[in-house]
């Protein structure tokens, strides 16, 4: 199983754990993650406005890079996945946008959305299968009560993202169960953590993050996992601090026995 991999800027710096653990786990699962030879920051927010052209180009470059290598494009950071998947959708469905982008990029072979964009979690679910992962787990997380925090970017808008049920997602819970832990569901797992607002109004992000964390803790979670560096930052820095928030890949690498345990749960506190 081979993918072109788009790590994104944050995974090279502040969220290196997300990236490193993902690579370790992929290796153990026999998945080849081939980092795109050239990539740029995706821009972190999807350019909603239809007259925004330049801000779409870096995503298209990544998509076209994977197309030339004839690979599906694997993403890991929620924001990157959101941006790249939606820009890809524009290239598939918006004739006007496709024409403008292609005339700007001047590619030998025009790009029109041929690349399949796959999030790491989708890869685990659809390509490998959680049953297979359950078999590969060497250090099952018995007795652990883990909550998943989805955030916004992976789920919405569901008509484009097609990731999971946007109001009652289950992919991370299935993932947690596959690792041998007990998934703890709570109603705010798809509510916004505040995102970039914390740069301007930290109190707003604090209120939102606390509501999320409180809800999970009340139901007995001992850890929260996420796929998004901003979500992790907000929950850890603006939450109640009652339970650790880690990347899902860290847990994966740990239970597959390919990661030193001490690097895992004490992260970022």
């Amino acid at each position: 199983m081979k993918f072109s991999y788009y790590p994104g800027c944050t995974l090279k710096t502040r969220a290196a754990e997300l990236d490193v653990a993902a690579r370790q786990a992929a290796e153990a699962l026999g998945v080849i993650m081939e980092e795109l030879p050239e990539w740029q920051c995706c821009g972190a927010v999807y350019p909603i406005a239809r007259d925004e052209l330049a801000t779409r180009l870096s995503a298209v470059r990544a998509l076209d890079g994977a197309k030339r290598l004839k690979n599906p494009l694997l993403t890991l950071c929620s924001a990157c996945h959101h941006v790249i998947k939606r820009v890809n959708n524009d290239m598939q469905t918006d004739d006007d946008m496709r024409a403008k982008v292609n005339s700007y990029m001047d590619l030998d072979d025009p790009y029109s959305g041929e690349t399949k964009v796959v999030h790491y979690l989708e890869m685990l679910r659809d390509e490998i299968g959680f049953d297979k992962i359950r078999e590969r787990v060497t250090q099952p997380m018995k007795g652990r009560r883990i909550s998943a925090y989805y955030g916004c970017m992976l789920l919405r808008p569901s008509t484009v993202m097609r990731f999971d049920n946007p109001e009652n997602p289950s992919i991370l819970e299935d993932f947690i169960a596959a690792l041998g832990a007990e998934p703890i569901r709570y109603p705010y797992r798809n509510e916004c953590c505040g995102g970039y607002i914390s740069i301007e109004a930290r109190d707003v992000a604090r209120e939102m993050s606390r509501k999320i964390m409180n809800s999970a803790v009340k139901r007995g979670a001992d850890t929260i996992i996420t796929a998004c560096p901003v979500c992790l930052y907000n929950l850890n820095e603006n939450g109640t601090g009652e339970v650790p928030v880690v990347y899902f890949t860290e847990l994966l690498a740990e239970s597959l026995g390919v990661k030193e345990p001490e690097g895992g749960l004490v992260h970022a506190r």
């Binding site: 994104g8 800027c9 944050t10 710096t13 502040r14 969220a15 920051c41 821009g43 972190a44 927010v45 999807y46 909603i48 406005a49 239809r50 007259d51 925004e52 801000t55 950071c77 924001a79 916004c152 789920l155 919405r156 808008p157 569901s158 946007p166 109001e167 509510e191 916004c192 505040g194 995102g195 970039y196 607002i197 914390s198 740069i199 301007e200 109004a201 707003v204 939102m208 560096p229 901003v230 992790l232 930052y233 850890n236 820095e237 970022a268």
Partner: protein, 130 residues
């Protein structure tokens, strides 16, 4: 309506790709918004004010900087109206002209802590500046 304002309304409708006339005024967007209390003009009013061409008031609105683009309103709207897209389009109208930026590069270092992920700064920058 002022001619400039009418032009702004047209730009916003074009750039957002939203058909405001589809709105049936049920208020589910405002019911859904996680940051409702921080906004002076609420999502459902954004839709009706764009429909009425009341753009200058929207351009002054605090809501522009409080919408998180979480897409909950887009997801749950029963008629596919996409209020978040309208807010984005108005925000762009404010920051696109020179001196419209809300966030200046010089201001950033003071805002940082050592754990802030790059992605957060980039998103804030993309949302608040051009």
């Amino acid at each position: 309506m002022h001619a400039d304002e009418r032009k702004e309304a047209e730009t916003i409708i074009r750039a957002s790709g939203v058909n405001v006339r589809k709105c049936m005024k049920c208020g589910k967007c405002s019911a859904t918004c996680p940051n409702f209390d921080e906004m002076d003009i609420h999502p459902h009013r954004f839709v009706s004010m764009v429909e009425e061409g009341d753009i200058f008031a929207l351009m002054q609105s605090k809501s522009l900087w409080r919408c998180l683009s979480c897409f909950a309103c887009v997801e749950r709207c029963p008629r596919g109206v996409e209020p978040a897209n309208l807010i984005e389009a108005v925000r762009l109208e404010v920051i696109r002209p020179l001196a419209g930026n809300r966030l200046r590069p010089e201001a950033i270092p003071a805002l940082l802590d050592e754990k802030i992920p790059q992605q957060l700064i980039v998103s804030a920058f993309r949302k608040y500046s051009k």
